[in-house]
Amino acid sequence: MEEPVTRSSEFTKNPKKSKWHQEKMRRNSQREAREKFPDRRPIDPELLKKYNYGHGMSKYPNLARDKFRAIKIKQREVLIQQSRKDTARAEVLLTEQPGCIEVAPGASTTEVTQKNILQAADITTKKKSFSLQLDSFGPYCFQYFRDGRHLALAGQLGHLATFNWLTKKLTMELNAMESLHDVVWLQDTSAIAVAQKKWMSIYDDRGTELHVVKRFYDITKLDYLPYHFLLTGLSGQGNLHYLDVSLGKEVILIQPKQPRAVAMVNSPFNGVMATAHSGLVCMWTPNYNEPVASMLCHKSNISALTYDPAGRYLLTAAYDRKVNIWDARNLGSQLQSLSMPHSVVSSMSVSQTGLVALACGRDVNIYKGLKEGNLTPYLHHPLETKVHQVQFCPYEDVLGVTSRSGFSSLIVPGAGEANFDAYEANPFSNRTTRRETLVKNLLEKIPYEHITLDPRTVTQVDVPSLEEKMEEKRRLIYMKVPKIDPNPRYRMKGKSGSAQTARRKLIKREVHKKRYIDRLKRAREGAGIDDDNDDDDTSADTSDTKHAIKRPTNIIDVFKKRK
C-alpha cells in the first residue's frame, strides 16, 4: 500500500517566514554567490563574428510548419549559439602566436632586409632561409604542399624535384626531357601532377610516372581541389579540364566562348574556378558549360589572379599596372585598388594571415593590411633577375620565390597561421596518419555537384525569392489548359465503338478543361489576381468566421464532463 509521497509538506515547513521573506533571502544569497564567483569572462564580439555559422531560422520566422517545430528549431539554435560561444572561448587554448617585426619609432619595416631579419632570428628560423642555385633548367614553377613541409619544383626545361624543404631531404628528382609548365600536389605527398609539353603526367614519390592523362592536352596551369579530389587544368587553347583523381575520370571539359583564358585559380572557399580572359574574370563550376558568374575587373589584360587562403578576397593584377582586390563572396564589389609605379605584377600570393606578396619585375613587394582594408608596404626584397613565381608557405613565415637564377626561401615574419589543425593539415604526420587521413578524406569526398557559388547551399532552406514569386504570379495569368490524350477503358458489349469512344474522349477532355480552369481560378484568387468581382471574396470571408471551429480546451482530469 505505497502511495507516492507528496511534497506538499515541504512547502509548509516553516510557517513563520513569509513568501516574500524567502524570496528576499534567495536573492541575497544569489547576489553573494555572484560576487564571490563572478561569471565567465565576456567574449570578444569580433571573435564571435569569426565563428558565425549563418543566420539560422531567425531570418524566416514563419517557415516552421507548426508551433512544435518552431520551438524545436529554437531549442536547437540555442545549442548552436552555445557551441559558437564555447568554440570562441576555446581560442585560449591555442598555444602559438604569429610573428611580427618591430622597428624603432619613425623607421619603416620596408627598410628591413632579409639580412637584418636573419641576424635577429633564432636558429630554427635561420634554417628556413635558403636559396637553391638552379639556373640551367629554369625558370621554375613550384608549389608548397598544404601542410607546409614539402615542396615541388618543376623547371621549364624538364627538371622535376620534390623534397622536404625543412630537412632538405630529397624525395624524388628526375628529368622529364620535355618542357614542364606547371606542377601541383595531389591528395598527399605521394603524388604530383605535372603539366608537360603535350600531356599531363602524374608521378609518385619515387619518380615513377604513374599516369599520362592524354585528355589533358597542352596544359599551362594546374590546380587541385583537395576536398573534391578534383584536378583542374587550363589548356593553351583556353579549355578548362576537370579530372576526378579518385576515380580517374574526366568530369567535364569546358570550352569557353570567352577570349582565351590566361590564368586559372580555384577558390578555397567554394571550389569555384576563376579564370581570367583578357580583363574579364569568369567563375566556373563543373556542372555548367557556361560561367556561373563573370565580372569585368580590368580594362586591360589580366596578368595574375589569386585568392587568399580563406577564399574571401580575389586579387587581380593587370597590364595597366594595377592590382584590384575584390570581395569574392559579394561579386562585383571592389574593395581596394593598388597602382604599381614601375612594372606589371606577374605573380601574386596571399598568406594565411593576409600578407600580400607581389612579384613586380625584379622585386618582391610584400604588403600587409588586406583584412583591415588598406594595403601598406611591409617588406621589400630585390632580386637580380626577373621574378617568375611567388608563393607563401602555409603555417610558416616563409615566402618562396623563383627567378631565372633559382629558388629562394625568404623569411616574412607573421605570414603563416601559427596554430595548425591536425585534422586538416598535419606537419608532423607520420606514415600511419597519412594513410588514415587519405581514407578519411576519401570517405568525406564532396561530390562535384555540390560546387556552387554559395557553399552553404546544402544546408539552406529553399525559399522562393520575390522575383520567383512574381514570375509564378505572372505565369498564372497566361496559363493555358494543357492538352491531354485520354485513353478510355475498353468496354464490352459493343460499347467501345469509334463513336462511343470519341464521345467519351470528348467528355474527358471537357472535364479536364473544366477542372483545370477551376483550379486556376482558385490559384489566381489565392495569389490575389482578381479577374472576377470582389463581392465573392468578402462573402467567403464572413462565412469562414461564422463556421470557425471552436477547439475544446484541455482538461487534465481524465473523465471530467464538459459543460
Binding site: 500500500m1 505505497e2 502511495e3 507516492p4 569569426k50 565563428y51 558565425n52 568554440t87 576555446a90 581560442e91 591555442l94 598555444t95 576536398y227 578555397p268 572557399f269 567554394n270 571550389g271 587562403p309 580563406a310 577564399g311 594565411q352 597561421e417 596554430n419 595548425f420 589543425d421 591536425a422 585534422y423 586538416e424 593539415a425 598535419n426 570517405l443 568525406e444 569526398k445 564532396i446 561530390p447 555540390h450 557553399p455 552553404r456 546544402v458 544546408t459 477547439r551 475544446p552 484541455n554 482538461i555 487534465i556 482530469d557 481524465v558 473523465f559 471530467k560 464532463k561 464538459r562
Partner: protein, 523 residues
C-alpha cells in the same frame, strides 16, 4: 596530443563535408542494422509474455497449451517450467511488490505464483532436476476459480488489487476469495450481454483509471472511483491496448483494421481524440507493448512482422521480420528499452534489438564519441532526400510488400471515389469525415453511480438513447442539406475494414451498428 584550431577558415566546405559524413553515417547505420539477437525455443505457440518484476534478463511466457515458462534471455535458457493451466494462458502479470505473479487461463482459473521463490531457486541453479520437474515450486500459492472465462489481467501499481476481464470486468483483492467489485458496463450500457472484454489495463500513473476493449468493437475507460465511465465505439475490433508509462493520458490500441491508434483520453469527446493513426501493418494487429521510456511502442501482427512506432508518428520507425517467423501473438519490450521480445505461432520467442544498428557491449570513449557524432549528423541532415530515402528503406517480404501495394491502391481509389462523389453532388451536401474520425463510430458517456445496481440498466439505456438522439440532432443541424442527398452518397467507410470485407465477399456490405450506436451518416 592532437593540435586543434577551430578557425572556420581552416575548415572549408563545412556543410558539404558534414552532409557527406551524414550520408555515410546513414549508409553505415543501415549496413549495421542487424536486429535479430536470438531465439528462445518453446515447444508450443506463445500466447502471453510478461517481464519479470525484478530481473532484467528474465521473462515469463505462457503458451496455448497452458505451459508457463521462465526464461533467462541473456543465456537464452529455460529456467523454470510448469503446466500452469489446462487450456491456454491468456495473460501473465506481476504484482505491485514483485513478490508474486498471476496467470489467467482459458480454464477459468486465476493462479498466483511465488515469484521470489522461483527466482531464488533459479539463481541457485537448483530448480530441482531441471525445468519441468515436479516440486514445491510447481504449485501455485493461490487459485481463484471463476464461472466464466477470463481473458485479461492487470495489476494495480501500488495496491494489492488486480483486474480481470471476460464477460465481466472484475476487481479482485489478493486477500479475498471473491471479487471486490464488478464493472458491468457491457451488460447495461451497450445492451449487448454477449460482448466480453478482450483485454484490460491499469493506468500506471493515474492508478485509479483503467481501460478495456471488448468484442463489441468498443474501447471502455473506467475509473475505480466509479464516477465517470466512457465508452468509445470503433468500427473494427481492438485486440490489445497499452497505456503510455510516462504520460498518463496517452493510450495506444491495436485494431483488426491493420492500424494502431493513439488516443488522448482527455479529449475522448472531441474530434481530436485520436492523436495519431499508426499505419504500416498489412494484417490484423494483435498485440502491443510500450517501451519503458514512453517514446515508442512495438506492435505484432498477423502479417508475420513486428513494427516499432514512435508515439507521435504515423509511420513505423522500423519493421522486423524473420524468414520463419509466423503470426505474432505477443510482443514485449525489455525493462531497459534495449530489447524486444516477440512470441509467435511458430513456437519461438525471438529476441530483437530495439534499435537495429545499436552496438551492444562495452565501448571505449572514442567509439562512443564517434557514434554520438554520427547520430547527430544523421539527425541534422535527415530531411535531405537522399539520406531520407536510405534511412527509410527496408527490405520486406514479398507478401507484405504486395499487400501494402494493394492497400495503397485501394486507399487511393477510395479517395478518388469520394472526391468524385463530392464533385458530382450539390456543393456542401457531402461532408467528408476527417481521417482521424473515420475509425470511430461514436462515444458513449455514462455515470455509473452504483456499478452493482443492475436495475438501473434500463434507465441508462434510455438515457443513452436520448443522448445519442441529441447528438444526432445537433449534427443534423450542421448538415442541413444532408436529408436531400441519396443514401449511397454519404456512406463513409473505414479504410481497412473494407479491405478485408471486400476480399471475403467480393462486395462491400454495410455493417449495421449494434445497439443504440447509430451514426446518422450511415442512415
Amino acid at each position: 596530443m592532437i593540435m586543434r584550431n577551430y578557425d572556420p577558415d581552416l575548415h572549408p566546405f563545412r556543410d558539404a563535408r558534414n552532409y557527406k559524413l551524414a550520408l555515410n553515417a546513414t549508409k553505415l547505420e543501415r549496413v549495421f542494422a542487424k536486429p535479430y539477437v536470438g531465439c528462445l525455443v518453446h515447444g508450443e505457440s506463445i500466447s502471453a509474455m510478461a517481464r519479470h518484476p525484478e530481473m532484467l534478463n528474465y521473462i515469463f511466457s505462457g503458451t496455448y497449451e497452458g505451459q508457463l515458462t521462465l526464461w533467462d534471455t541473456s543465456l537464452e535458457k529455460q529456467m523454470w517450467k510448469v503446466q500452469a493451466h489446462n487450456s491456454h494462458i491468456w495473460s501473465i502479470t506481476a504484482d505491485c511488490k514483485g513478490e508474486t505473479f498471476y496467470t489467467v487461463g482459458h480454464d477459468k482459473a486465476i493462479k498466483r505464483w511465488s515469484c521470489s521463490n522461483i527466482t531464488e531457486a533459479c539463481d541457485r541453479m537448483d530448480v530441482l532436476k531441471g525445468p519441468g520437474s515436479a516440486n514445491h515450486l510447481s504449485e501455485p500459492i493461490d487459485t481463484w476459480l471463476c464461472d466464466t472465462v477470463i481473458s485479461g489481467l492487470s495489476h494495480h501499481r501500488y495496491q494489492n488489487e488486480f483486474l480481470t476481464c471476460g464477460e465481466r470486468v472484475l476487481l479482485w483483492d489478493s486477500e479475498k476469495k471473491v471479487p471486490v467489485r464488478s464493472f458491468d458496463w457491457s451488460d447495461t450500457g451497450g445492451g449487448e450481454a454477449s460482448s466480453s472484454a478482450i483485454a484490460v489495463k491499469f493506468n500506471m500513473i493515474d492508478t485509479n483509471v483503467f481501460a478495456s476493449c471488448d468484442h463489441d468493437n468498443s474501447l471502455i475507460l473506467y475509473d475505480i472511483r466509479a464516477k465517470d465511465v466512457k465508452k468509445l465505439k470503433m468500427k473494427l475490433r481492438i485486440n490489445d491496448l497499452s497505456w503510455n508509462p510516462t504520460e498518463s493520458f496517452i493510450l495506444s490500441v491495436v485494431s483488426d483494421d491493420y492500424n494502431a491508434y493513439t488516443f488522448d483520453v482527455r479529449m475522448m469527446d472531441a474530434d481530436r481524440r485520436i492523436v495519431c493513426i499508426h499505419q504500416g501493418h498489412t494484417s490484423a494487429v494483435t498485440c502491443l507493448d510500450y517501451s519503458p521510456t514512453g517514446q515508442e511502442f512495438v506492435t505484432g501482427s498477423f502479417d508475420r512482422s513486428i513494427r516499432i512506432f514512435r508515439v507521435d508518428e504515423g509511420r513505423s520507425r522500423d519493421v522486423y521480420h524473420g524468414k520463419r517467423m509466423h503470426k505474432v501473438t505477443s510482443v514485449l519490450f525489455s525493462s531497459d528499452d534495449k530489447f524486444i521480445y516477440s512470441g509467435s505461432a511458430d513456437h519461438n520467442i525471438r529476441i530483437w534489438k530495439s534499435r537495429a544498428s545499436e552496438k551492444m557491449g562495452l565501448m571505449n570513449a572514442r567509439e562512443k564519441l564517434a557514434i554520438d557524432l554520427s547520430r547527430q549528423l544523421r539527425e541534422t541532415y535527415k530531411d535531405m532526400p537522399e539520406i531520407r530515402r536510405i534511412a527509410r528503406h527496408r527490405h520486406l517480404p514479398k507478401s507484405i510488400r504486395a499487400a501494402a501495394k494493394e492497400h495503397h491502391l485501394i486507399r487511393t481509389s477510395r479517395a478518388r471515389k469520394e472526391e468524385n462523389v463530392r464533385r458530382h453532388s450539390k456543393p456542401g451536401s457531402v461532408v467528408g469525415e476527417s481521417r482521424l474520425e473515420k475509425p470511430v463510430f461514436g462515444v458513449q458517456d455514462e455515470e455509473a453511480v452504483d456499478p452493482l445496481a443492475e436495475q438501473a440498466a434500463l434507465k441508462k439505456l434510455e438515457k443513452f438513447a436520448v443522448g445519442a438522439k441529441k447528438r444526432m440532432e445537433a449534427r443534423k443541424k450542421e448538415r442541413t442539406s444532408i436529408k436531400n442527398k441519396k443514401m449511397k452518397v454519404s456512406s463513409p467507410k473505414g479504410e481497412e475494414e473494407n479491405i478485408s470485407e471486400e476480399k471475403n465477399n467480393g462486395k462491400f456490405k454495410k455493417k449495421n451498428p449494434k445497439g443504440s450506436f447509430k451514426d446518422e451518416s450511415l442512415l
